[in-house]
């Protein structure tokens, strides 16, 4: 077929009111339409099955023990933490797009920020599952939180896992607030357009009595700006803290000061990869070509190119330092990644994260949705393998060769991971179905027509 981006995007000249009207119609139409694309139903059915799989996996896990996974004495973390870091990484794009790009006045963000934020929240939910379930005794996992306790025992604040608890929970809270607050005006629109009583009541409650008065708009924008400023450091901090889990330890391959920036770059890379993975098909299915423009997709591809290059640069730095430091253990770990038993995983990672982004130098690769989909899926795979390499290949061969081992995942490792993918999709599909997937008010504010009165043509 012809490229969807080009076909949907027929520039139309009209007045601001008409443009606003069309935005409202398009976005609300997604939720209000009677029949939904078959693809949505198929995807929803699949995601439901996977959620059930997640439930079964957790049930089995809680009743049997961590031993159902492939972890062992040498390799204590395995897929659970790989998945945790993977999902936290994905959870980066949303807040980055909403907060940092907002502060940088990148107006193209408006078409994607709502769904990116939703994605962030769902990804962090998926991520948050793992630290809670991967512990040996999940029934006392609350000991990791600083709760008042009659024995006066507190968590140990020197442990990076403790920092994780704070970093991830803060990030989740702020992201949720940010996402919800941004949605309030649009929920008001939904309430106003509601045809059934129930919808009117539900959206009425959800929109907190939004009337759209100038005073409300004023307060809203101030609060939004403040939250954006608050969320910005979190984007950088949360994955830095996650990287401390590794950097603060002393294992070769983990104990590396480059980890915080390297993890953040990787997180943004994987986050944008996931945003594109979700939005390219959604844009096509729901006919949102007018709003999520070709240029927006392209911009995101460029971000992938940039962050992918940063990631590749980090890899090179790691290798250089491993050699330059003269630390034989560190040196072997990196040598072992490339030539050791996990060579295959390293190869996948290197291809997906180092080679793949460079396709985005070509305009065709940034505009053809099929090519984009193929590439961003590889980005997702590559970033999962990056965490796999860091965690598994380092741990299986560290200081004492007598303890060296190989890691083989079990069915339940895969089932749990697939389950969280299902949960992520499930939540996202529901979001598409019931909530405004595009920030109407912001898109309207970003249209050239909105500024016509003040600045002439944009």
């Amino acid at each position: 077929m012809d490229t969807a981006i080009d076909k949907d995007e027929t520039p139309q000249k009209s007045t601001a009111a008409a443009v606003f009207q069309r935005v409202t119609e398009t976005v609300s139409g997604v939720v209000e339409r009677r029949t939904w694309p078959k693809a949505w139903y198929i995807a929803f059915a699949i995601s439901c099955c996977l959620v059930v799989l997640l439930g079964i996996s957790l049930w089995h896990l809680f009743f049997t023990g961590i031993g159902i996974w492939g972890t062992n004495n040498t390799e204590g973390w395995g897929w659970a933490i790989v998945n945790f870091v993977f999902w936290v990484g994905i959870g980066h794009a949303g807040t980055l797009i909403s907060a940092i790009l907002f502060l940088m006045r990148q107006t193209w963000r408006t078409s994607i920020n709502r769904s990116a934020e939703a994605m962030t929240i769902f990804a962090v939910m998926c991520a948050g599952i793992f630290p809670l379930i991967h512990v040996g005794r999940p029934w006392v996992v609350y000991w990791m939180f600083p709760l008042p306790y009659d024995m006066d025992i507190w968590p140990q604040f020197r442990s990076p896992l403790m920092w994780d608890v704070f970093a991830v929970s803060t990030y989740f809270t702020v992201s949720l607030l940010f996402w919800y607050m941004g949605m309030v005006p649009d929920l008001g629109t939904f309430r106003d357009r509601a045809k059934s009583k129930i919808k009117a009541v539900v959206f009425g409650v959800l929109s907190f009595g939004w009337r759209g008065s100038a005073k409300q708009w004023h307060r809203y924008e101030r609060a939004y700006l403040l939250l954006a400023a608050l969320a910005t450091p979190l984007v950088l901090s949360v994955h830095s803290v996650v990287s401390f889990d590794f950097a603060v330890s002393q294992q070769p391959g983990w104990h590396t000061p480059i980890f915080p920036p390297y993890f953040v770059a990787g997180a943004i890379y994987s986050g944008f990869g996931m945003v594109l993975t979700l939005l390219v098909p959604a844009r096509y299915l729901f006919g949102l070509g007018d709003i999520i423009k070709k240029s927006h997709i392209e911009a995101m591809c460029k971000v992938l190119l940039l962050t992918g290059s940063l990631v590749a640069f980090s890899y090179m730095t790691e290798f250089f330092i491993a050699w330059y430091s003269g630390n034989p253990y560190e040196g072997f770990t990196f040598f072992n990644r490339v030539f050791g038993p996990f060579q295959w995983a390293w190869g996948i990672m290197a291809f997906c994260n180092v080679v793949v982004p460079h396709f985005f130098w070509f305009k065709k690769c940034r505009t053809n949705p099929w090519i984009i989909m193929g590439l961003v899926l590889l980005v997702n795979v590559g970033m999962w393998f990056e965490r796999f390499i860091i965690i598994v290949s380092s741990l299986t061969r560290e200081f004492v060769p007598a303890t060296w081992d190989y890691f083989v995942p079990t069915f339940w490792d895969a089932a749990t991971f697939l389950g969280t993918i299902g949960m992520f999709l499930f939540l996202f599909l529901l979001f598409l179905r019931y909530l405004p997937m595009i920030a109407m008010s912001e898109v309207k504010a970003a249209t050239p027509e909105a500024h016509a009165d003040h600045h002439g043509t944009h």
Binding site: T64, G65, I66, G67, G70, T71, N72, N73, T74, E75, G76, W77, H134, V135, G136, R137, P138, V140, V141, W143, M144, I153, W154, P155, Q156, R158, S159, P160, L161, M162, V165, D245, V248, S249, Q250, Q251, P328, F332, F335, N336, F339, G340, P341, L395, R397, E398, F399, V400, P401, A402, T403, W404, D405, Y406, V408
Partner: protein, 1014 residues
């Protein structure tokens, strides 16, 4: 709690027989009723109708005699007053003894409230290595609580437990054997495993007097009879050959694992280590010539891998050289091979050079001629009385085991045997195939087997009598040097089992209790008592042995060398074709000869060399396998004559070329839920290799051909060495040199602190003020020069610290739980590498990397510098394990105590040490430096208001170590041994470059190679 008196009033009944005794008027009725039942039962399965009749009758009788009781009644009477010296929860220690292969070992059992939990060596016993223990002794306590032990007597044909009991056996024995006595015991035979017990011996004499035509046979599959016969050849009378290694400067071991598989292994190991003190510049030199790589071989300074059947010509050539009689030397082609020739030349000159301080020892599987040659060589070296001691065998008339069992089978096959009493052993499983024991047994009308469980032999006998564990029964025995050793029971038999002495007494028609019989033996040993024998009896029981009761020694000179006919194979070269291979059956480190097959601790204990668990394998050198086109884990068919065995191949560096080693004692079908139980569908670990063993060549089998079956089999070890990629192997070799630092004695003399020059360690220092440990500062030192990798420490740790067994599948996933593991590294040529061991438990780092990463503070530092684990607080993030560079932390991936939910298995929990928490699912655990033992001593010293003496605190690993390689103590005590060892120039910390400041230091290994061979 004492079981001193067996004749207590019985307050509850166990079976109808007991009841019948209680109510004599019922006895007749029951006997009549059961006699009819017996007929029916003997003919085949009971009919349902008949079963109901019997049950009905039984219940009726029970209610008549037992005052209407239906269940077992037990009266529990609380003690009104605490018995003297008994404090609940405080352990008591009893001297006792265990017998293995006809040699008793003096032990001390730790018992809490009457249940033994731990076995240690008897430190005062003169024939042993202090308080050390072998792995088998350590693990034997688990056998006591083995849920698969028989709980009932079994009589063939009967399906109801009513049919057989001790009472009914006694009745049966009285009747059966008095009938036999009339005929003088014609057709009556006894088959015993090797037993050194003088009480058994006395009973045997009485029985043979009562039944003059009866015969007594003895059989052990791993017998030391070749040594007996060899010394008989050399001296005219059989001897027991003991080594005195403290005097030895040069030791040559021929196919001899004298540090592990030897009745005096503990003493040998201790003496061997005492002769290797590099700090005092005292170093003996060990040469090993052997086919299978043994722990002794790994301790050797020089090792020559040589097929077992070539050891004899090698010995003869050595003898010829030492006697300066080159004409007498065999002319075998292999002797001309440069490696062998050079080894022989250097060995001969070194031995001669150290005349009077040298010794040659030959392993039990070598033929008698080899032992005779060794005796002559030792005479040439003037070793007798110095480095080797010959004890006069107390039973010179005894026929060798294989000949003995062959005779029995022949007679039984000819219908000359109608009653066979088998005391222990498992001949159906482990007798040589060509003896045809099983077929012979089928022809015997009445066969009575005394054994731990219904094993391969019991299941085809007419009577099975549960055999009492050594901790349950009175007994005695003789140590390797002959010292009279007593065995006292710690508890009543758990399942009403009976000992050999009781069974023999019943047959002999004696009424004394076993205790009285043993006491009578003691009186014979000590001579008549002057006043009252009670005091000396109590002292002997307390000590566990009677001093100065060793066998007589002799320094007889051996006779001249007879002409020895060598086979064609013994004259050929070392390179062989398929069809001319050799199989060597070796004792298993896990099951011994199969008897420990149902012991989970032993099954999961990694083999010293292969590190395999839960399996035996066909061990082959990499080159041999390559020449035969065989790969690691291929299942091969091993063919000898018409008999075949399928086994998986494990490529074992250092295995002699074209020789295959197979450990015996696996593949059992009637061992239990651990060792294999065919009736329950439990596959056994490993394969049974006894089918290759014949009476002619029981352990060294030539003319073997192998072929691939095309199948592979997953062998599971705790170290994955030879499946590693090249990159990993190169790195491992590099790192092993830093982990296990070693030097030759010469290098060590030149540079005593060579360990400091092996790796550049950047100048360290903490940014923070380092913690000062003002009170105690516990530390450990592990001497790698002494470690022989024998696993005793690991097993002792397992017993002391309630370490669970996880099973083969989980070991395959690297989830074994041993707190103390022994790392083993090879170095050099894979065909003849050197091996180094390193026991690694928690290093108790002062800067512990595990502590700072725990989010809940479950692992914390004590003021005495211990890295403590708070199990209750652990949530199981496993971060600590990830951050531990030594990888000593162990995680409970599952609930490893789930098997206790089965009521049948509950008994196993009696073994648990009450001083150590039993860990739940999901928590981390690791070595604690036996903190419970530290606390016990601290409390005791505080009560006595005195400081803790150095050496007072002994960790479990240290206590079990035969070579004294592990030393524990207070580093703040300037005079403590551990402090001195930490200050030794050989001391280094594992991975010191990380600045974890471990409290355990290793002392570098020193080898003592001969200049001309290195």
């Amino acid at each position: 709690m004492s079981s001193l008196d067996r004749n207590q009033t019985q307050t509850y009944w166990r079976s109808l027989d007991d009841l019948a005794d209680a109510a004599p008027e019922l006895k007749k009725i029951i006997d009549d009723e059961l006699a009819r039942d017996g007929e029916a039962a003997g003919d085949g399965p009971l009919s349902r109708r008949r079963f109901m009749q019997i049950m009905g009758a039984s219940l009726a009788f029970a209610s008549m005699a037992g005052a209407g009781c239906r269940w077992e009644k037990e009266e529990i009477i609380p003690l009104g007053k605490r018995p003297d010296n008994y404090i609940p929860g405080k352990p008591k220690f009893y001297a006792t003894a265990m017998e293995l292969g006809g040699v008793a070992t003096g032990l001390v059992a730790t018992a809490y409230d009457g249940r033994p939990t731990k076995i240690e060596g008897n430190p005062q016993h003169p024939s042993q290595g202090g308080g050390a223990t072998t792995g088998f002794a350590q693990a034997s306590v688990l056998n006591l609580y083995d849920p698969d032990r028989s709980r009932h007597f079994v009589r063939k044909g009967g399906t109801l437990p009513l049919d057989a009991s001790w009472k009914s056996f006694q009745r049966f024995a009285a009747e059966h054997f008095s009938k036999l006595a009339q005929s003088g015991g014609r057709g009556l035979r006894f088959l015993s495993e090797a037993q050194s017990s003088p009480t058994v011996r006395a009973l045997r004499a009485e029985i043979l007097a009562r039944f003059p035509q009866a015969q007594w046979h003895e059989y052990e599959p791993l017998s030391r009879d070749n040594e007996r016969e060899g010394t008989r050849q050399a001296f005219g009378a059989p001897m027991r050959v003991a080594l005195n290694l403290t005097q030895a400067k040069v030791i040559a071991a021929f196919d001899s694992d004298f540090l592990i598989h030897h009745p005096a292994a503990l003493k040998n190991a201790r003496d061997f280590a005492r002769g290797r003190r590099p700090d005092d510049k005292v170093m003996n030199r060990l040469y090993c010539i052997e086919s299978a790589f043994t722990a002794t071989g790994s301790a050797a300074d020089h090792r020559l891998p040589l097929r077992s059947d070539l050891v004899l010509p090698f010995l003869l050539a050595l003898e010829a050289r030492l006697a300066r009689n080159p004409g007498a030397s065999p002319k075998g082609a292999f002797l001309a091979e440069p490696e062998v020739a050079k080894f022989l030349k250097v060995l001969a000159s070194d031995l001669l050079h150290n005349r009077g301080k040298a010794v040659v020892t030959v392993g039990p599987r070598q033929p008698a001629t080899a032992h005779a040659a060794a005796a002559r060589i030792n005479a040439l070296l003037a070793a007798a009385g110095r480095t080797v001691v010959y004890y006069v065998d107390e039973d010179p008339e005894r026929v060798p085991h294989t000949a003995d069992i062959t005779r029995l089978c022949r007679d039984a096959g000819a219908g000359k045997v109608h009653t066979l009493v088998i005391l222990g052993g498992n001949p159906v499983f482990n007798a040589p195939v060509d003896a045809g024991f099983k077929n012979a047994l089928a022809k015997i009308e009445t066969s009575i087997h005394l054994s731990d469980n219904v094993d391969e032999t019991s299941s085809v006998c007419t009577w099975h009598i549960p055999r009492a564990h050594y901790l349950e029964a009175w007994g005695d025995g003789r140590a390797f040097d002959g010292t009279y050793t007593l065995r006292q029971p710690i508890l009543e038999p758990l399942w009403g089992a009976r000992s050999d002495i009781e069974v023999l007494a019943a047959i002999a028609g004696k009424t004394e209790t076993p205790q009285e019989l043993v006491r009578k033996t003691l009186d014979t040993v000590l001579g008549p008592a002057t006043i009252d024998g009670t005091l000396r009896w109590r002292k002997a029981i307390h000590d566990g042995f009677v001093p100065n009761t060793a066998f007589a020694t002799t320094t007889k000179a051996p006779g001249p060398a007879p002409a020895v006919r060598l086979t064609a194979s013994q004259n050929a070269g070392t390179r062989r074709a398929n069809g001319d291979l050799e199989v060597v059956l070796v004792p298993s480190t896990a099951t011994f000869d199969g008897r420990f097959a149902n012991n989970g601790w032993l099954q999961e204990m990694p083999d010293f060399m292969t590190k395999l668990t839960w399996d035996n394998a066909a061990l082959m050198s990499p080159k041999t396998a390559a020449a035969l086109g065989i790969h690691d884990e291929d299942v091969i068919t091993i063919k000898s004559g018409g008999r075949t065995v399928d086994a998986a191949v494990y490529l074992m560096p250092g295995q002699a070329p074209f020789s295959i080693a197979l450990a015996v004692g696996y593949g059992r079908t009637h061992a239990g839920y651990v060792g294999g139980l065919a009736s329950a569908g439990i596959d056994p670990p490993g394969v049974d290799v006894y089918p290759l063993s014949t009476t002619k060549s029981p352990h060294i089998i030539g003319g073997i051909s192998v072929s691939r079956t095309g199948r592979t089999y997953k062998l599971v070890g705790t170290q994955d060495h030879w499946k590693m990629d090249k990159l990993g192997m190169a790195e491992r070799e590099e790192r092993a040199a830093l982990l296990i630092r070693e030097a030759t004695l010469k290098e060590f003399k030149q540079t005593p602190n060579f360990v400091d020059h092996m790796m550049h360690v950047p100048g360290h220092g903490s940014l923070w003020q380092e913690i000062k440990y003002d009170g105690h500062k516990w530390g450990m030192a592990t001497d790698l020069a002494a470690c022989i990798g024998c696993n005793s420490c690991t097993l002792a740790c397992q017993a002391e610290n309630n370490v669970p067994v996880v099973g083969k599948d989980r070991v395959a996933m690297e989830r074994e739980m041993h707190w103390l593991r022994i790392d083993r590294y090879f170095r050099g040529d894979p065909e003849n590498p050197t091996v180094a061991y390193q026991p690694v438990g928690c290093q108790q780092c002062e800067n512990a990397p595990c502590e700072s990463v725990c989010p809940v503070g479950a692992t914390v530092h004590s003021s005495e510098g211990l890295n403590d684990m708070t199990y209750n607080r652990c949530v199981g993030t496993r971060y600590c394990a990830n951050n531990c560079p030594y990888k000593v932390r162990r995680f409970n991936f599952f609930n490893y105590r789930e098997f206790l939910d089965n009521p049948k298995n509950k008994v196993t929990s009696l073994q648990y040490n009450p001083e150590v928490t039993v860990r739940s699912r999901g928590v981390m655990e690791k070595c604690t430096f036996c903190v419970q033992r530290i606390q016990a001593v601290k409390i005791a010293s505080k009560n006595d208001k005195r400081p803790i003496r150095d050496g007072e605190i002994v960790t479990a690993c240290q206590q079990a170590c035969p070579t004294d390689a592990i030393v524990f103590g207070d580093l703040n005590d300037e005079h403590s041994r551990v402090r001195k060892l930490h200050e030794s120039p050989r001391a280094y910390a594992m991975l010191e470059v990380l600045y974890t400041r471990p409290r355990n230091n290793y002392l570098a290994r020193i080898r003592n190679p001969h200049e001309d061979l290195s």
